[in-house]
Symmetry: C2
Subunit: 457 residues, 2 copies
């Protein structure tokens, strides 16, 4: 609509300035040294929601980082959209690889470089500005509720409790999230599913103290060596995961689904060149899209043990550790998988080491019902602003709480991601393209309009 266009054109610089100020707050949820920053960030989100025209805006304390709630109810009889997002961000390290400060946003070649620019400050903020646009131009067609949390990057441990305690307040017809990516501005896509997650930490203990590797080496099991052997055994030569029962609940895609998925535009050469790798890797018999979207995986996210400082230390370490996470697909259950991993990892440990397995967090996979009115409305919204229908794709990432919304609130979720896979999420030099930021703000109001119209029918 022209009024939206005009309003957004008039305010586009302010929209950006406001986002940059949010990006300057290092709201790293995983690092307790940043607890004050996450608090500060929640307060800033509250202020922005109020300025945008939301009401009953509140920073809701939890056992962890607070959740920011706000709403704009225009008519109880109209449909309600619950917008979810998160203001917390991933740790920025390794810092030395950033070209500019992770919390000193810079704009280069039409891209905003900062931790959280795409994941998820830049994306949830598109909704704040889209709703502001509709309120300011008296065109808001339905009710809107905002729930912006601060623990998505650490497993949303307290969001589930908040939802259980606020079912009335969170009543809605659909959940709308922008925390995923699209193929490109030329080829808009929409996620029809997300992978689940099971994140474990393992500790392998050998001798009760670090030992001289000469005096004891050869006679005492080295926990670093043993950990490597255990991790190596988790994949077979075809890169299948060897945990017994791991694949039992995996729903295989139909040939038609595989065909549709693999028909999405993809340039393997460009993919390889961008990552500077000689070749892709993965489970035998599946394409890159299938490996990242529809197949479960097991990754070592971190490993450490022994002497890792400058120079050489001839030590046989007492302990070695690893952070290992698994991405899950329908119908795997993250609790069941965590239990299978723990049992298997303890079982394969040789008797001359002790093993401790601790689950960090997890979430179940999710598949969007493509026949849902909100999904159709989203498709129509993309078509309105991009000039073409979005390509349905399966996202490889996880938003564990999507499954929770369905279970606790009985709500389906629509994933309107406007980022790109190349945004360096969770990596140094995370970025978000200005064009995508503005395109999102432009597209979202159409979703509200079509969803309201189509719901009435």
């Amino acid at each position: 609509m022209q009024v939206w266009k005009d309003y957004q054109a008039k305010n586009k610089d302010r929209f950006l300035e406001e986002l940059l100020s949010l990006l300057r707050i290092p709201s790293v949820s995983a690092d307790s040294r940043h607890n004050e920053d996450t608090k500060r960030c929640a307060e800033a989100v509250k202020e922005r929601l109020i300025e945008a025209g939301a009401e009953k805006v509140e920073v809701c304390p939890t056992a962890g980082h607070p959740i920011v709630y706000g709403e704009k109810i225009i008519d109880a009889n109209l449909p309600t959209v619950l917008v979810y997002g998160h203001y917390d961000v991933q740790p920025p390290d390794p810092l030395e690889l950033w070209h500019s400060g992770p919390f000193e946003p810079v704009i280069k070649d039409g891209k905003i470089y900062a931790r959280g620019s795409a994941d998820d400050k830049g994306q949830f903020y598109m909704h704040v500005k889209a709703v502001e646009t509709m309120i300011a131009t008296n065109t808001l067609p339905c009710n809107v509720k905002f729930m912006i949390e601060g623990e998505e990057e650490v497993g949303s441990a307290n969001l589930g409790i908040f939802i259980k305690e606020n079912k009335e307040r969170l009543k809605a017809d659909v959940v709308l999230i922008s925390d995923t990516a699209m193929i490109s501005l030329e080829n808009p896509s929409i996620d029809t599913g997300l992978r689940g997650l099971s994140y474990m930490e393992v500790e392998v203990t050998g001798p009760n103290r670090d030992l001289h590797s000469g005096v004891y080496g050869g006679a005492v099991a080295n926990p670093a060596t043993i950990l490597c052997q255990m991790i190596a055994s988790l994949h077979d030569k075809d890169n299948h995961i060897t945990i017994p029962g791991f694949y039992d609940d995996v729903v295989d895609l139909s040939d038609a689904e595989r065909k549709a998925l693999n028909s999405a535009p993809f340039d393997l050469k460009e993919y390889i060149t961008d990552l500077e790798i000689a070749d892709v890797w993965g489970e035998k018999g599946y394409s890159v899209f299938e490996r990242t979207g529809t197949r479960p995986t097991l990754e070592v996210n971190g490993i450490w043990g022994g002497y890792t400082g400058e120079g050489a230390k001839t030590v046989l370490p007492s302990k070695a550790y690893a952070k290992i996470s698994m991405r899950l697909v329908p119908n795997q259950d993250n609790h069941k998988i965590s239990d299978l991993f723990k049992a298997h990892f303890e079982k394969i440990a040789p008797n001359n080491v002790k093993v401790k397995v601790t689950p960090h967090h997890g979430g179940n996979p999710y598949v969007t019902p493509t026949d849902h009115v909100a999904f159709k409305a989203a498709n129509k919204a993309y078509a309105a602003t991009f000039g073409k229908e979005p390509i349905p794709v399966r996202g490889g990432g996880s938003i564990p709480i999507v499954a929770l919304f369905e279970k606790e609130l009985g709500l389906k979720t629509v994933l309107m991601g406007f980022g790109l896979d190349s945004d360096n999420l969770h990596s140094p030099n995370e970025k978000f393209d200005l064009a995508n930021f503005y395109k999102g703000i432009e597209t979202i109001p159409y979703f509200h309009q079509y969803f309201t119209e189509m719901s009435k029918k």
Copy 2:
């Protein structure tokens, strides 16, 4: 001799105080942040040698940490003993496991707890005090030279150069070193050999940046996983090392030698209990003494990659690293082994990662000629103060420069170690028993006396 006994009894507290002051200097050679401390420690050693009666004492600069030289020449026609030791120490980390500050020595239950107490400040200082004893009582029977270096824990890179440039000044009849352990005060032992060392650092690179483990996981080789697989493949199921040619030059012990070695008193149950492990580990077909003394080994000294901080980060790391060292036995050559390792490690790397292998330092194994007059003199010295002949054993550790002394100076080395395997060398809470410290000071003069007498014959 009684005069020695009397002198040492009168001065024993001062001897200890002097050692403690040396232990308070954090002379960590591997960590450049301690370069000023190592300098300070070298100056302190110089002062101590002068006080003990040594002459021409000098702190000799090198490209790295300085070497302290001193001598006491009483008669050019008498034999000369070259005492070698090192004033540098291992890094103290992990600091949190120390019961008291690594550089704030405390005495508990008759033991000195401090980094360097046994390795090697406490042990080389026994020689300083033994020589002081002989000089002060006008009983020094031969010439003595001291060469105390500051880079033993980092591979003695500059000692070789110093030796080449000072062959005249270092002329001697034997090298005497106390930097190893004995079985116990009840069962004195003497090392008849040392293992060599080849220390490598490996870097495995996957994608050019850290990636989101959900977006890319499953399609891109994870360098941490690959590194684990590569390390796991370095041992077979019998814990033999799989590097082609690794064992080619290993000299197997004769049945008689194996029998003698295994006849040394050893309590497996106590060994296991002390380390709190369920069982020992190692190469199939060999005893603990053989595994640590006469067989080559490969140990992971450190491993790191990805996110190792608090909480969870779902990252697919760009790089993973490991420090891997091999202990060598006669007649393996450390350069040849380093080359074999590098070639093999590069060969087993899959094509979708890049591998960089960098050698840190190394040294060749050494076997003491048990028929050498100095070795016999050492045996007699132990007998004089312990009341029994020492048991011949093979040390698992390495003093790389021992082989160098033979090559460059044509000198054999005698290893009179007075530490214990349980001294926590290279570990938190390193200690040295006061009884062993004083026993060493008491025994060393007898070595000089017997060596001089037996050399005349």
